[in-house]
Symmetry: C2
Subunit: 298 residues, 2 copies
């Protein structure tokens, strides 16, 4: 018996999207999703099935400036994008952006999702498992007089002045490796242990921006962290409250999940290429390999 | 015969809006406009007719961060906003913003227009005729790889790298008082003489922002200036071309009106309060007073 082995290339996609018009990243039948639209566009051009793997599975309404995904494509399918190897990637990038723009819900036809680059992945690269960490920002404005309607698609407007120093003190107690059950929608069989690398807020005039970085996030974790810290910032809870909830693994009616529209996946951090495979193996081992109930995004 | 004179207060409104969901500033029957929505909201609260005068009559799709308007209200109507004088203004501001948020087309209910402040105007103040100048910005991105979908509501995406230095040299020749017929949609009986105070582009990474300031603008003037300069920036026309069109008062098929969505009225400049009335009288005299075909916005 002879086995025909198709030669596959792994492609890395860097992309950005306005989450407003999408039901999140993950493909869902009958709903407009980033994964669904991107997969359909790639399959149209390549005339071959595409299975995307993404670094951050963003929720409905959440944006991305620096999302990363990969997929494997047979070399003969890649040729459908254009004649030669390097040109095929440029051709694929242009044609996929043209299709995405055509599928935009925007009356002006400007695209709400764009692929910034498509390139051959380094050996061992996995968009999800090679990632060291994900960094999200969350934008809040606490002065109604400074409300900028042009920024409203990505800003939460709160009526009380926020105490940034108190929020940062409270956040400091959450840094490091912990069981973040109190800040997660847990999924059966999946761990809620994560390493929170950064969690701080900065004020620029009336706009307070949270930056939250972790090795990975459970479902709703960034929004629950921000929602909890906002209650410290407006004085309705003490600075100790978030750490008490973390330590007590408390999930109750006081859990405040901040709305999704001010949340943006800014970037995904990867190690140097020679460490891609090692990192992926380590991550898979830690988070029960192939377990689709595990979440590595937000 | 006795005449009853109602005592009127002139109120100044500072406001901002995302122009995407509006058919421009000016009220039009059956269309969602900023003037229409704002007038309706004010009349609901004050239970009195409201006639707004605005500094910049923005076109459909054009945004504003620093728009200014005024209207005159009988003191007894103002009391409908709240009990006492000062409180009435605060009450009016809060209630009008609540109505504007309720009328938002945004599924999340965040408002696409907001009144930043309502206050008693200084004596002699006229939002339109007291203004010294209007400043608009126009945002263009010339690197497809840096396209930010979150900024697309206010950015023009062009495929060729723009030569900012060439555009600024070309723009320098347009500064000062000229007949801007070549850059206007003229209206019968209205002058097209304007004083262009600033017209320059600046690059920040892949984003080129034009700043254009004039005593007043004819209809489509900013967008025609930008559209003309973009043809210099992408190398399809010489640096002398815009000045040639200005001097020749040329209006032909080569007129390029850039799209409205990247255009924002940033601010309106006024003289010190003691000069309000003098400035208004001067402006009215120059631009055929009360002539509604005259345009002072964009």
């Amino acid at each position: 018996m002879t086995t025909t082995v198709a030669h596959l290339s792994r492609l890395r996609l860097d992309l950005a999207y306005d989450g407003t018009g999408f039901h999140g990243w993950a493909a869902q039948p009958g709903l407009r999703t980033v994964e669904g639209l991107l997969t359909e566009s790639l399959e149209t051009i390549l005339r071959s099935p595409v299975q995307l793997t993404v670094a951050g599975r963003t929720d409905a309404g959440v944006h991305a400036r620096g999302q990363v995904a990969h997929f494997d494509v047979p070399d003969e399918a890649l040729q459908n994008a254009q004649g030669r190897s390097l040109d095929a990637l440029t051709g694929l990038e242009r044609r996929v952006n043209a299709l995405l723009a055509r599928a935009s819900t925007d009356p002006k036809g400007s695209s709400d999702v764009v692929v910034h680059s498509i390139r051959r992945a380094e050996p061992g690269f996995d968009a999800r498992f090679s990632a060291l960490s994900r960094t999200y920002t969350y934008q809040v404005c606490d002065d109604p007089r400074a409300y900028d309607p042009l920024q409203r698609a990505m800003t939460l407007w709160v009526p009380h002045t926020l105490d940034v120093v108190a929020m940062n003190r409270a956040a400091a107690a959450l840094l490091g490796e912990h069981d973040f059950l109190a800040f997660c929608k847990p999924r059966e069989g999946a761990t809620t242990i994560r390493t929170l690398l950064a969690c701080e807020s900065r004020r620029q005039g009336p706009v307070v921006t949270f930056t939250v970085q972790a090795d990975a996030f459970c479902h709703s974790m960034v929004r629950t962290l921000v929602g909890t810290l906002l209650r410290v910032g407006d004085g309705s809870r003490t600075e100790e409250w978030p750490a008490q909830r973390l330590q007590g693994r408390i999930r109750d009616g006081e859990v405040v999940v901040a709305p999704p529209h001010p949340l943006t996946l800014e970037r995904v951090e990867y190690p140097s290429p020679e460490q891609f495979a090692a990192r992926a193996n380590m991550t898979r081992a830690r988070r029960s390999a192939g377990d689709e109930t595990d979440c590595c995004g937000e």
